[in-house]
Amino acid sequence: MRHSTRIAVGPVQFRIGSDWRAPIDALDRLYAGYPKDMARPADATVRLFAARPWRRWLRPSVHIGGDFIVPDALPLPLSMGLLAAEMGMNLQVALGWRRHMLLHASAVARDGRAVILSGESGSGKSTLAALLGEGAWRLMGDEFTLIEPASGDALGFPRAVSLKNAAIAEMAARVDPARLGPLLAGTPKGDIRHLIPRADAIAAMHEPARPALILFPRFGGAAAIEPMAPGEVFVRLTEASTNYVALGEAGFAALARLVRETPAFGISYPDSAAGMALVEQLWAEAVR
């Protein structure tokens, strides 16, 4: 590929190649504070390429490739090259990673203990984690949480946080503008702007944390806490894991242990402040 870079997020070393310079430059700006080792072998490869050579210039559209591909994924315009890169990185991890059980969940940590937030898109898990990560918590990641099968510990994947729609203004009001990437307006997922995690979260990205709480946030409705039975948590987390089946018995054992040892709750909240208060309340009870 004409342009390339390497990015290490948590345990994953990415190699990203592109037919265009702009997405690589944008990634290098977002990930400038991350450890960079150009010699370390890549765990995952992402390729951003033009479908036909002339499409590098004429209505340039970015196809996402790599070790794993989604055959019918539509290309994105070059102005959304950063989003294409992010989608490619997520895809390679979701489909290819085998060393840990992967949960589609955000996570924050304090005192070596982790709160794992699992939910669909729109549940608010990313925004809650990002907001908590600006306070007394270490942001472990807004998209993926990795569970180490042998120890049961959670490992972070603190990629640049993908803020969407209303969350953009909410975070922009709180953080140094230098930590925000360019606004990507009108993407297939709405408006997107990336937030660079705090330097302490990046510095601590290899530190494991023992799971203390599993939460299933649901944005909207009155503030409420609903304890969840381990069987239901097990089912929901198999659905939230992109590699549970691929891991076989190691995944089964890791998930059974996580569910048995970690209290779990569904939380509903009308706004971010209420959601954060519920997390703090359940945390205080869990570590008491």
Binding site: A229, P230, G231, E232, F234, V235, T238, V245, G248, E249, F252, A253, A256, V259, R260
Partner: protein
């Protein structure tokens, strides 16, 4: 007609993890995860290596648990259905 005989899978074929009201069972042969509720785990535990039909299983379970009307036709009929379901999942084998 004689009742069908069943036995538990070979030792080590299943990994069984109780999770509250549900029990998660990992089948090492198929790599599949099954989630079951009572009395499925109890049936698998009571079956053992010796082939056994629904009537004999009802007696074994009655010895282990306080079953009302154990050994009655109702219990055996329910167990016959459950055994067929477990066999369809591959969690018990027809002997």
């Amino acid at each position: 007609m004689a009742d069908r005989l069943y036995r538990a899978p070979a030792a080590g074929a299943l990994r069984i993890e109780p999770l509250g009201d549900l029990t998660a069972i990992f089948d090492r042969r198929s790599m599949q995860t099954h989630l079951v509720v009572a009395p499925m785990p109890e049936i698998i535990a009571a079956l053992g290596d010796t082939p056994c039909d629904a009537g004999a299983l009802a007696e074994r379970l009655a010895a282990m648990f306080d079953l009302a009307d154990a050994g009655g036709d109702d219990v055996a009929a329910v167990l016959r259905e459950r055994l067929a379901e477990l066999a369809a999942l591959g969690l018990v084998a027809a002997a």
